[in-house]
Symmetry: C2
Subunit: 259 residues, 2 copies
């Protein structure tokens, strides 16, 4: 059966009006669907208000114990439950989950090599059968960027990776569409022109854009992830602006990845 | 089918060792089951750390907007997700929920008469069919004391009331046992003797104990709720110490209410 997984980034969550418009569109998406959300700035703000210092290692936040509690509160509680309540008000039967709920996404605490990232999870297993059972009873999973370990630890986990790992696991039984919504209209052929959207991107043209330095920084792990998902059975991956979700579903907006 | 709903109070949640022991026992309970949890002191502490003043009206906390965000973070996130992760580590397939998730418990914002309690919910409808679907797919709902309104508002809601309302709704199709776990061994015939547990309590003896002032204060709304649940189809209500859960299930501990 057709299944759409949408990943929504923190920048949309931080903007109440943009978030409300996005949720209204998401609620209108036809067929079975899953939402995976990022964190936004509220965790960093809440940590600061609580007097918890945000420690960075190589540009990433280190999740020590107090910070783990903050992301559990903010991502798993405040953000997730408000998304769910708003979707319910839009007649979408959402159910908010972390990886721990129903044991849907289990991970291992990232081993310390040269860097200790703290309570961060590397995904080990997605329980596609359990997610399917929820979908089949008419529910729409809304997944926060937290997983759990076999020892019962909660672990901070990258939302892009959770989205692609979940899409790959669900692709075994579904025609799987994966849509990354973010703050640009798609992958751009000119970083200074927000309208210069590349409509189709394949591994060869991707390599070319990378070599020319047109695609760089944060887009590279996102796109590597996305191409890997296509290699693993996901039917279509689209990268688009959160405002263009419904158009992107009909291939009228965003960048479609091809292999 | 037999179904057991256990309500656990905030004082157990505040004590990590007691909580771990309780969860181990709960995980061992046979048959279908539901856990409803209270809040504990962490919400008040977190609010204080965030510089949010706790406002009391007639002995109850007033839930203004900042406090609603704190209880959503703490009850719906920190407490609920840690209970779920610990139950998963005890081989119990828990799923953490607020009333908004799957639309299981809808409420209305309490109307302002003489007192404005703020964002507090009065339960309007329990979606027993949705809870049943979760139970039937092998999940164990772990419910936080939050509900939602048709408008998409999250609302702070009394955990005892959520437990009894859920038990009553589920009693239509299940042989329903409701167990309130708290910090005493049961209802006491002598408030100064923690071992003076009344093993059976019926409406007549309850009225008698109330008249003599032996049962008073916080126990009265809890027991009124519990007797009302029995009147509405719940088979058995037990009040016991969190340590005695497994004994209470076998009627070897706690106070059993009868009508």
């Amino acid at each position: 059966m057709k299944l759409t997984l949408v990943k929504i980034g923190g920048n949309v969550i931080d903007n109440p009006d943009a978030c409300a418009a996005f949720l209204q569109a998401f609620a209108q998406l036809e067929g079975q669907k899953i939402l995976v959300h990022g964190g936004g700035k509220i965790a960093t703000q809440t940590a600061a208000q609580l007097g918890i210092e945000t420690k960075m290692v190589e540009g990433r936040r280190r999740t020590d114990r107090p910070m783990l509690d903050v992301v559990t509160m903010v991502y798993g509680g405040l953000v997730n439950k408000n998304l769910v309540a708003q979707l319910q008000a839009n007649s979408c039967n959402a159910i908010g989950l972390t990886g721990a709920d129903g044991g849907i996404i289990r991970s291992v605490k990232r081993p310390v090599k040269t860097i200790d990232y703290g309570f961060v999870g590397d995904i080990e297993q997605v329980n596609a059968g359990q997610i399917d059972a929820l979908l089949q009873s008419g529910l729409v999973p809304v997944i926060a960027p937290l997983t759990y370990s076999a020892e019962g630890l909660l672990l901070n986990t990258n939302a892009d990776t959770m989205a692609s790992a979940t899409a790959v696991a669900m692709a075994q039984k579904h025609k799987m569409n994966l849509i990354y919504c973010f703050e640009k209209k798609g992958v751009l052929s000119d970083p200074d022109d927000d309208d210069a959207v590349i409509s189709k991107l394949n591994p060869a043209s991707y390599a070319d854009y990378k070599e020319k330095g047109i695609i760089n920084k944060g887009m590279i792990p996102k796109l590597d992830n996305a191409f890997a998902a296509l290699q693993s059975g996901v039917r279509r991956v689209t990268i688009c602006h959160a405002e263009d979700l419904l158009d992107a579903v009909e291939e009228k907006a965003g960048t479609v990845l091809e292999i």
